[in-house]
């Protein structure tokens, strides 16, 4: 019987050792090596891969785009979802129908969302391309940097609003009736009632979602980016994760790509530590 718990833990530990710790360690290791392009071996180069990255104008450009992209996607999808959740919480008729209509996109894969974006922005018949054309905006997806970036943000927001909506709505519905009624008596104006009472009560959900959304914009949008650039990274905007893939897989720059992976690992670790501290604080107060 003494061996039973170890036996139970073994499969999980084995899988994470082989498919998590080994690759993660390998990434850290190879980020300090320069791989021979013909695969004949590698030489230790210390921090050179990192120095190269930070010195590269292209990497800095991608990093900047990622920051702006992440901020836009996070802000827009949180704001739209919050607005919709507050409204869905208000109405009595059709609340269930609205919930279904607003949440189903959760199940759409990012690259498929990107594919729908390709149709919407198609050069010859895309409804959005035509609409923008009416206003004199010649939208060229996959060629013009800003147009492609616009499409990436729009598709990523479309894909992310549902998750945020679900969390905000469940957060709103967990606010006790008594609090709502007291607020209603004290404060007639819906606007100030929202900012003074509802918004602070939603803050824990909001913080949690903030981190989730940043992680989403950084990593899960890979599929959106990959479909919208139509396989031609070229002059198109890309995120840091996409660059890891492009450099490592297409460019065969293993050391550089590993260094990028390690930078991203550090970034995620920092975000998670930040999140844990917030969660701790939340438990503390409630």
């Amino acid at each position: 019987m003494k061996w039973l718990p170890i036996l139970l833990l073994l499969p999980q530990l084995l899988i994470i050792a082989i498919f998590f710790y080994w690759p993660a360690a390998h990434a850290v290791q190879s980020s300090f090596y320069l791989q021979d392009p013909f695969g004949f071996g590698s030489t230790f180069v210390g921090w050179e891969n990192y120095a190269d990255l930070f010195g590269s104008a292209e990497y800095r450009k991608v990093a900047w785009f990622t920051v702006i992209f992440t901020l836009l996607v996070t802000f827009l999808s949180l704001a739209i979802a919050l607005l919709l959740a507050v409204k869905a919480d208000n109405v009595l008729h059709g609340a269930k129908t609205y919930r279904t209509l607003l949440m189903w996109v959760y199940a759409v894969a990012p690259p498929v969302a990107g594919f729908i974006g390709l149709i919407m922005f198609d050069q010859t018949f895309g409804p959005l391309t035509r609409l923008f054309g009416q206003f004199g905006w010649d939208f060229v997806l996959g060629v013009n940097f800003n147009d492609t970036a616009f499409a990436m943000v729009l598709v990523s927001v479309w894909k992310q609003v549902p998750v945020n909506f679900i969390f905000f709505l469940s957060g709103l519905q967990s606010i006790p009736r008594s609090v709502r009624e007291a607020a209603l008596i004290d404060n007639r104006s819906g606007m100030s009632r929202f900012w003074d009472i509802t918004f602070p009560l939603l803050a824990p959900t909001g913080f949690f979602l903030l981190i989730t959304n940043i992680t989403y914009a950084l990593f899960d949008t890979f599929g959106v980016v990959d479909t919208l650039v139509k396989g031609e990274p070229g002059n198109n905007p890309m995120t840091l994760v996409y660059k890891v893939y492009v450099d490592g897989f297409r460019g065969n720059d293993l050391g550089g790509s590993s260094a990028q992976s390690v930078i991203l690992m550090v970034l995620v670790l920092a975000l998670t530590v930040f999140q844990f501290r917030l969660v701790e604080r939340r438990i503390h107060y409630t």
Binding site: P11, L13, F20, Y21, A27, L102, A107
Partner: protein, 298 residues
């Protein structure tokens, strides 16, 4: 209940109009939001019902054509690659294998590991806990290349094991079940012990039935997550017979780019087929799904 309606009824006439305008505004916002979500899907749906030449000429229209059976045949039974293996049927099958295999693997591993962590006193329990939960910190995307090399070394490229197992190497389900097991009342464990149930009996006869709703919720979330995987399948499966629908989407878009008469009807229908199963599951099991999703953050 009757009291409140009684007292509010007489004074309801004056503020009624104001409230109603507010309600209309609420509905307007919700309808706009629903349209924002729904219209792109409707457009894709419409394009699957008309011949390709018509889409290119007119774009999406407000009519339903009769080319759907034709597009369906092409999408499901005609391969789009060179090998002739990645028909829609094949990709659909692979998607189901990935979705179900991932969900089952994750739940099974997670449950037994969580069981060991919660109900046994282990000397190295804390170490095991941290080893397992560190995996929550780093998504597969950041260690994608070395993971690929490991799978390559193990000779698991273009296999279902290579596709599924590395994705299972994270602790979301373990974490979730650990939280749930800890909320199971202590008395139940005691009672089982008094009745002479061993650890295995306790797990199978008490813990598993208790966790039914949780298992269902996890299954839905994990199935959708597995079905929607893109980056990992893109790297691991180069063999067209191993493509999932979501992984195949890239090739579908490349067919659109290259051809003289792009087959929009067929490609859009494949995209639609990639969307529908997870969407139906999420809609039909909505309450479980929402519960599982929102409770996993606690």
């Amino acid at each position: 209940m009757t009291d409140t309606t009684f007292t509010t009824a007489p004074q309801a006439t004056a503020p009624k109009r104001r409230i109603r305008w507010g309600r209309i505004a609420d509905h307007a916002v919700l309808i706009a939001g629903s349209l924002f979500m729904l219209v792109p899907l409707l457009i894709v749906m419409q394009t699957t019902t008309v011949p390709d030449a018509e889409i290119i000429k007119h774009g999406p229209q407000l009519k339903i054509g009769n080319a759907l059976p034709d597009n369906f045949n092409k999408a499901m039974f005609e391969a789009s690659g060179f090998s002739g293996e990645n028909t829609g049927v094949r990709m659909l099958l692979n998607s189901f294998i990935l979705g179900i295999g991932f969900a089952v693997g994750k739940i099974a591993l997670g449950m037994i590991a969580a069981y060991a962590l919660v109900y046994f006193r282990l000397r190295f329990a804390t170490a095991a806990f941290w080893l397992i939960f560190t995996t929550l910190l780093l998504p597969l995307e950041v260690r994608i290349l070395p993971s690929y090399e490991v799978v390559q070394k193990l000779g698991m490229l273009n296999t279902y094991q290579g596709l599924i197992i590395p994705l299972v190497a994270s602790a979301t389900a373990t974490f979730f079940f650990r939280q749930f097991f800890r909320s199971v009342p202590e008395e139940l464990v005691e009672a089982a012990r008094i009745d002479g149930a061993g650890p295995v009996r306790f797990f199978i006869d008490i813990l598993v039935p208790l966790s039914r709703t949780m298992i269902a919720a996890m299954f839905i979330i994990m199935f959708v997550f597995g079905w929607n995987q893109y980056l990992w399948p893109t790297m691991i499966t180069t063999d067209e017979g191993m493509y999932t629908l979501v992984r195949g989407i890239k090739q579908i878009t490349q067919v659109l780019e290259g051809a003289s008469l792009p087959e929009y009807g067929r490609s859009n229908l494949l995209a639609l087929i990639a969307i529908l199963p997870p969407v139906f599951i999420v809609i039909f099991f909505q309450s479980w799904f929402v519960k599982g999703l929102t409770e996993s953050d606690k």
